[in-house]
């Protein structure tokens, strides 16, 4: 068995990741928007007598790219430590893919070109003379369609048998050619490596290089590639009155139309939320009763443990753990797949496109709306997602405001509040109504996001030139089952794992706080009393504030903790029904104002521990961590204060 290395390189969104997945069977999530692969993905494939190590590089338009992921890709290519470079080109837009093909050919001669999405090109009446292209570039060209699994075998076969290398010679303007010749003779550098040295200002103590550095600008290099590209492409591609896909036409019309675009977005959001709420009820209950059924057998099995150890573990840790899991898991299993389906379909860039103007007014750009959508699933995911923002300022704005999007962890509490205090019946009409009210809360969150973004932009962050250039990919039918599988595996389970790691110890701590008694009351009751006056000013009470504080590790446990505080019990206990929960709350002087303020405070308070950690990691600054904690909390306090003040007139 021979061991060899191949890398996959190409423009973003040309189906590189799909191709990689088909080849390796390893499954990384593919999405219909730019910037999905950020780090190199590796996998091993065996084909006949060769073991291939395949490296999937982040998508890039050019080896001259500026962004972090583009640099990762170009560094790998320039190092030339592989046996074959597979350049994946988009058959529907070969003009654009040619650039990177030519650049890679200037670095290495061991190139195989994959014309991907060839079926789609045919559908759109684009004809490509691949034979002619192969004779011009003198390297093998394989037509592939990752969707229809076409050309994969052929590609592997070519990888195994391809020995010779392309003798293609690029032709640059004369002064550049002279420089390349010098570099070739003196350092044995390829053309690609040579211009890379010009660009990076590396530590070569060579006067000739610094001479050419002044002469050859980046612009010239680019122009030169473009010129070659134009000359090659003009004989290769025939576009016979290109047909626009009907789907694209309809959606583009609907999305750019003044009357339909914004309502359409809201409808999508509404449907996702409603499905999440409506479908997750039953599995949540099933999970819950299953885990609580296990409590007794577990107690029997572990009865050899002393009770001071058994009780915190079982009734503190285990109970909090399954509570969080059964409340959190079903909505996440529904939300993330639905969201991923829209993402794969290609809808997300349209959302960014449509909403750019309002964000522009606040000093950010439309892409922030995407991070906000992710935040609806999980704020930590939203904060990480802010990497798609184009400059540092916009990224910070997106990170600091993400918490105003209520995440899945906060939905259940909000929904039960809504159904207890604002909705009368529990039929489908009722669930529709509660989804509508929830949508209203989210709209408030959106308004706050705009306000805070604007404020931060005005007074805090340095001026940076705004930039918004966004590709709008063609709509593609998502691979439904795969998308569901990946979104569950990569987003839902990932978040769930973190929540579990945090909720178990918190459960134990809460149990201990509730059971250690000082002066006839538990530590929790003392804390409640201490916070009570502050809570009352905000139209809440001490227990609610404390519940939010103890909910720092995971927002899911706010209501269970609240119940524990009200009942003065020693462990989390379930309420029989929403009605019984409502009775308990009413017994503790809850009014409609308390419910409203509870909703407001769940929307605006400090982010959960996981999100805070993520913010610290992403910004690498304690100052921004502090801001992300303080800003929403202050706003929440102010809003609660205002509503309480308004209600006092009644």
């Amino acid at each position: 068995m021979k061991k060899r290395v191949a890398c996959l390189i190409g423009n973003p969104n040309v189906g590189k990741s799909s191709l990689f997945n088909m080849l390796t069977g390893s499954m990384q999530h593919t999405g219909n928007w730019t910037g999905k692969t950020v780090a190199n993905e590796k996998a091993i494939v065996e084909y006949k007598d060769t073991i291939w190590e395949l490296v999937d590089l982040p998508g890039t338009y050019s080896l001259m790219g500026e962004s972090a992921e583009e640099k990762v890709a170009s560094a790998f290519v320039l190092k030339n430590a592989y046996d074959v470079a597979i350049v994946v080109a988009d058959a529907t837009n070969l003009e654009r893919s040619m650039e990177i093909i030519l650049e890679v050919l200037d670095v290495t001669k061991k190139v195989i070109i994959c014309l991907n999405l060839i079926d789609e090109a045919h559908k759109r009446n684009i004809i490509i003379d691949d034979k002619k292209l192969a004779t011009i570039l003198k390297c093998p060209i394989i037509l592939t369609s990752a969707k229809e699994k076409k050309g994969l075998k052929e590609l592997l076969e070519t990888m195994n048998t391809y020995q010779s290398s392309s003798s293609y010679q690029s032709k640059h303007p004369e002064c550049m050619e002279r420089f390349y010749k010098y570099m070739q003779n003196k350092y044995h550098f390829s053309k690609g490596q040579s211009w890379h040295i010009l660009e990076t200002n590396s530590s070569f103590q060579d006067e000739v290089i610094s001479f050419y550095q002044k002469m050859i600008s980046k612009e010239m290099i680019r122009e030169s590639y473009h010129e070659m590209n134009k000359n090659i492409v003009k004989d290769i591609i025939i576009r016979k009155g290109e047909k626009e896909k009907k789907e694209d036409k309809i959606w583009n019309f609907l999305f750019s139309n003044r009357l339909t675009s914004i309502p359409l977005l809201l409808i999508f959001l509404f449907i996702i939320l409603w499905l999440t709420i409506y479908l997750s009820n039953i599995p949540s209950e099933l999970l819950f009763s299953f885990f609580s059924f296990l409590e007794k057998p577990l107690n029997n099995i572990l009865s050899f443990l002393p009770s001071w150890l058994l009780n915190p573990l079982l009734y503190g840790g285990y109970r909090t753990l399954y509570w969080v899991v059964s409340v959190m898991l079903p909505p996440m299993l529904i939300f993330f797949p639905l969201f991923s389906l829209l993402e794969d379909y290609g809808l997300l860039p349209r959302i960014a496109f449509n909403l750019d103007k309002p964000f522009q007014k606040c000093g950010s750009c439309g892409k922030q709306s995407l991070t906000m959508c992710m935040g609806l699933g999980c704020n930590a995911v939203g904060v990480t997602g802010a990497r798609i923002m184009e400059n540092k300022k916009m990224r910070l704005l997106a990170i600091l405001t993400n918490v105003f999007m209520p995440c899945n962890g906060r939905f259940p509490a909000m929904i039960s509040m809504i159904s207890m205090f604002f909705i009368k019946d529990s039929s489908i009409v009722g669930s529709l109504m509660s989804a509508l009210i929830l949508l209203g809360i989210i709209l408030l969150g959106i308004a706050l996001t705009f306000f805070v973004t604007w404020l931060l932009n005005k007074c805090l962050l340095k001026e940076e030139k705004p930039i918004f250039i966004l590709e709008l990919p063609s709509f593609r039918k998502p691979k439904i089952w795969r998308t569901i599988y990946f979104s569950i595996k990569e987003k839902a389970l990932h978040v769930l794992k973190r929540a579990m790691i945090i909720s178990f110890p918190t459960g134990i701590i809460i149990f201990l706080l509730a059971n250690i008694k000082v002066a006839n009351a538990s530590l929790l009751q003392h804390a409640c009393l201490f916070l009570n006056d502050f809570g009352l000013i905000l139209g809440l009470d001490g227990a609610i504030i404390l519940a939010f504080l103890l909910g720092l590790p995971a927002n899911e446990i706010v209501i269970p903790v609240l119940l524990l505080l009200y009942n003065g019990s020693s462990m989390l206990t379930d309420y029989e029904s929403l009605q019984s929960l409502k009775n308990i709350l009413l017994m503790h002087n809850w009014t409609i104002l308390t419910a409203i303020n509870f909703l407001i405070f769940s929307l605006c308070h400090f982010p959960c521990a996981t999100t805070l950690l993520t913010i610290k990691k992403e910004t690498n600054s304690s100052f921004y961590l502090f801001l992300s904690f303080v800003i929403p909390t202050i706003i929440g306090i102010c809003l609660c204060f205002i509503t309480t003040f308004l209600f006092s007139f009644k």
Binding site: N11, K230, R258, S261, K465, L470, E471
Partner: protein, 73 residues
């Protein structure tokens, strides 16, 4: 004329690009270079950004940027 003045469905050939390096590089990779045929596809409900097509690629830019691109019908 300015690229931002193209009506929906109208085509133009790019003559000059008066933008900074960063934006120019980004647009370059989308195929927006001197001599490219650019079509105005549709506009966002807020009038900006505007979607353009070059070859097979549809992309969006703000009207402020589009007005720095000179085209000829």
């Amino acid at each position: 004329m300015k690229c931002s003045e193209l009506q929906i469905g109208e085509k133009g050939v790019v003559k000059n690009i008066w933008l900074d390096e960063v934006k120019k590089a980004k647009l370059f990779h989308l195929g927006l270079v001197k001599g490219a045929l650019i079509t105005c596809k549709f506009k966002s409900p807020f009038k900006t950004p505007i979607a353009y097509q070059i070859n097979g690629c549809v992309f969006a830019m703000r009207d402020t940027d589009a007005s720095c691109i000179e085209v000829e019908k």
